[in-house]
């Protein structure tokens, strides 16, 4: 397989799915009608409700392409099962489920006067379900934050060429906020300064790096500063790991675990004991985790214009350049026969098509069967939305014509799928390395196909930078949401939770505890399951609505059932993995064992919540199937 085939396959798939399936549903089932007045026209107020050209609306969604999901999930899945299962799920998922979810969500709102879906989901989401969902969402956010901080702290502590660029991103973010919104400086000038400085800082990371006569890697000036910082912190314990924080990752996905050598054996390093399988936590790891928390604290507590928005603005340019140029490299590499620094063809996939299907479970070992685990590992990109980011109003209130919903909602989902496919290409050509490292190596190779072989280390640094930026911009906002949620949730009963600083720090402490358990992939898969359960629930709302409108709900019903059953099964498998690989092995240490039990409890809560929500949804569907339109029992009190 080469990169050009992926480009061609994805282009054909998107064309066929969009034109022969999505348009058919739009025309025959939803019956989008350009003559029907949309809420934007009916309630036009120039603020919330405003008819907007579909190209502009699409742009609103596309500009927030910097989402972590389509990259992180694909990297993890390709590592676990190979590139082919990931490719098939991305293609099938987006063609039959992904676009349907996002498009339907918009149409449902449009047909309900652009308001919330309360007329439908009020009946579906009874008071009990609402409370369950509230708790569920908090754990969901906790899982995202834990998974993201875990992988980022490991990258920053293991790669001296990466942190400088991220540090400068924070500085440039603060500066951009001040220059744009306070000093009202020229937008073009400010953008040029902050984006160029951030990009240059990322690319400077590996500058001057070389291997000496003994084959030892010598960092360049920037990398050396970071190494010195790491050394200062590690000297606090005499260079030894903090034994109490030793942990394990049975999936071997933690970036601190080295890749197997030529003999297929993982060597012992400063952060990994090959004999016991334990991951050693050095003080430098804790320092970089703390750095991430400080970064996120700024994003969570400062006014949006002061930090979160400027960082996202800069991050978007960085991502756009890294991803856009990688896409050019993916097309060029097979055509020009470009080779990397080792002389290997860049356009060829180094990752096996299928590593394993994983159905055979071994006692005491992690079990990663293709079904259901693939379908929660890759969420965004196949079925999920995107992190839409725009000025104040929602799409459903802006559609000029009903017929714009498909190109806007469905089209943006297909775009996100393209980003996921590009991530798959980057990961698959990289060969060695794990997690974000494989993605960055792939980006480095693709960029070297554009700029020449000598650019590969700088391209890799940019790949790391883009990856960290993508994940970090989401992480800071997750903490912001958690902070507000915690205040709202327990602020009445626990007044101190109304304090923004307290609720942010409390959320961060909970996240740190999860991070220190070391089970990164388990965290990610539980997050994926929680995310997909919400996708199933959203599709369930659509299904019930279609039933209430006496339309054929099949295109939403089958994906609902598939995602619901898959999600439940995946959560159960994750709980099983935690139990057999960590929780029942006290010799691994108190931290991983305690963390595993905590996550098992979270998994069981998610399963219980899913069952209750499913039951309520089933009852709502039955009510409509029987033609009864009264609300769920007790629903009146939920308004």
């Amino acid at each position: 397989m080469n990169t050009l085939y992926i480009v061609v396959i994805s282009a054909i798939t998107i064309y066929l799915a969009y034109n022969f399936y999505a348009k058919r549903i739009d025309r025959n089932v939803i019956q989008a009608d350009a003559k029907r007045a949309t809420p934007a026209k009916m309630y036009m107020d120039g603020v919330d409700f405003m008819p907007t050209n579909r190209n502009v609306l699409y742009g609103y969604h596309f500009k927030s392409i910097a989402a972590a999901g389509p990259i992180v999930g694909v990297i993890t899945a390709a590592n676990l099962w190979g590139w082919l299962p990931a490719l098939l799920w991305l293609i099938v998922g987006v063609s039959f489920i992904g676009w349907a979810s996002d498009y339907s969500a918009i149409m449902l709102s449009v047909r309900n006067e652009g308001n919330s879906l309360s007329a439908i989901s009020h009946k579906l989401i009874a008071p009990r379900t609402r409370t369950i969902l509230f708790v569920f969402i908090f754990f969901y956010l906790l899982l995202i934050a834990g998974a993201f901080v875990g992988i980022l702290a490991a990258i920053l502590s293991a790669r001296p060429d990466v942190p400088f660029g991220i540090l400068m991103l924070a500085v440039m973010g603060l500066l951009a906020g001040q220059m744009l919104y306070r000093w009202k400086m020229d937008l073009i000038l400010v953008t040029a300064i902050v984006v160029v400085v951030t990009l240059a800082s990322m690319i400077l990371g590996p500058y001057g790096r070389h291997t000496d006569a003994d084959g030892k890697l010598i960092q360049g000036p920037v990398g050396q500063i970071i190494v010195s910082v790491n050394t200062v912190f590690n000297n606090l314990t005499g260079g030894k790991p903090v034994e109490a924080l030793s942990t394990v990752d049975p999936t071997f996905a933690d970036p601190r675990i080295p890749a197997p050598n030529a003999e297929g054996v993982r060597p012992t390093t400063a952060t990994f004991d090959a004999e016991t399988g334990q991951i050693k936590t050095l003080p430098s790891y804790l320092f970089w985790a703390l750095f991430l928390f400080v970064f996120s604290y700024l994003g969570a507590n400062l006014p949006i214009w002061r930090f979160a928005q400027p960082v996202n603005y800069i991050g978007f340019w960085v991502t756009l350049l890294a991803i856009g140029l990688s896409a050019v490299g993916a097309v060029l590499a097979p055509l020009t026969g470009a080779v990397d620094s080792t002389g290997a063809l860049i356009g060829q996939f180094a990752l096996p098509a299928v590593k394993t299907l994983g159905f055979a479970a071994e006692a005491g070992k992690a079990w990663q069967p293709l079904w259901p685990m693939l379908f929660v590992t890759i969420a965004c990109g196949a079925i999920s939305g995107w992190h839409a980011l725009f000025g104040s109003i929602g799409t459903a209130r802006q559609l000029e014509y009903e017929t714009d919903a498909l190109p806007v909602g469905g089209g943006a989902m297909f775009t996100e799928n393209t980003l996921a496919l590009l991530s798959l290409v980057a990961v698959s050509i990289a060969g060695a390395g794990g997690g974000g490292g494989r993605f960055a190596a792939g980006v480095g190779k693709l960029l070297s196909a554009v700029f020449g072989t000598a650019f590969e280390p700088f391209g890799t640094a940019l790949g790391f930078g883009a990856f960290v930026v993508i994940v970090l911009t989401v992480t800071q906002l997750v903490f912001r949401v958690m902070r507000v949620t915690l205040t709202e949730w327990v602020g009445e009963a626990v007044p101190v939770a109304r304090n923004a600083n307290f609720s942010t720090i409390f959320s961060m402490v909970l996240t740190l505890l999860l991070v220190l358990t070391g089970t990164w992939v388990y965290l990610w898969q539980m997050f994926g399951a929680a995310n997909q359960l919400m996708a199933a629930l959203s599709l369930l709302v659509v299904t019930v609505w279609l039933k209430s409108q006496k339309r054929n709900p099949a295109y939403a019903l089958w994906p609902t059932l598939f995602m619901y059953v898959t999600t439940l099964a995946a959560t159960a498998v994750t709980a099983r993995n935690l139990y057999v690989t960590i929780a029942t092995k006290p010799e691994l240490g108190a931290l991983p064992v305690g963390g595993a039990w905590a996550m098992i409890i979270v998994a069981l809560l998610l399963i219980a919540a899913a069952l209750l929500i499913g039951w309520d949804g089933y009852n709502a569907y039955q009510r409509y199937a029987k033609g009864r339109m009264e609300p769920a029992a007790g629903a009146a009190g939920a308004r």
Partner: protein, 128 residues
């Protein structure tokens, strides 16, 4: 054929961050997203720029009530890629800026000149 005038407004807009569409549906129904979004929008702009944005909103409402389907309005956040490209293309220096039919440019919160330009263009007969 009815004449329509395109009005593009480039301004620093308050930013709210949204999650997946399906998650947003569920969050919306639980009431979860209401305070989250409100908090973000409240701190989306410094006070003076928030006043400017309010002036933009009020003006948009006025021109909609005056011209209805005769105008197509786009509000573009200056601090976005699209805003950057528009700023570069039209050599804008200050915000809010109004671009009428892609040709006439106006800056500031006194929209009288932009109003006149819209009126003038609406009076001009549409090309067949």
């Amino acid at each position: 054929m009815d004449k329509t005038v395109q009005v593009e407004i480039i301004a620093y807009a308050p930013t709210a961050f949204y999650h997946c569409t399906h998650c947003e549906i569920v969050w919306n129904q639980t009431g979860f997203s209401r305070n989250v979004r409100a908090e973000q929008l409240q701190s989306g702009l410094p006070e003076d720029l928030a006043v400017d944005y309010q002036a933009v909103s009020d003006w948009v409402r006025r021109i909609f009530s005056r011209h209805g389907q005769g105008i197509v309005v786009k509000v573009i956040d200056a601090a976005s890629v699209e805003g950057f490209l528009k700023t570069a293309r039209h050599r804008l220096r200050t915000f809010p800026a109004v671009i009428v039919d892609g040709r006439e440019r106006f800056s500031g919160t006194d929209f009288a000149a932009a109003d006149q330009a819209i009126d003038r263009r609406l009076r001009t007969p549409a090309a067949a």
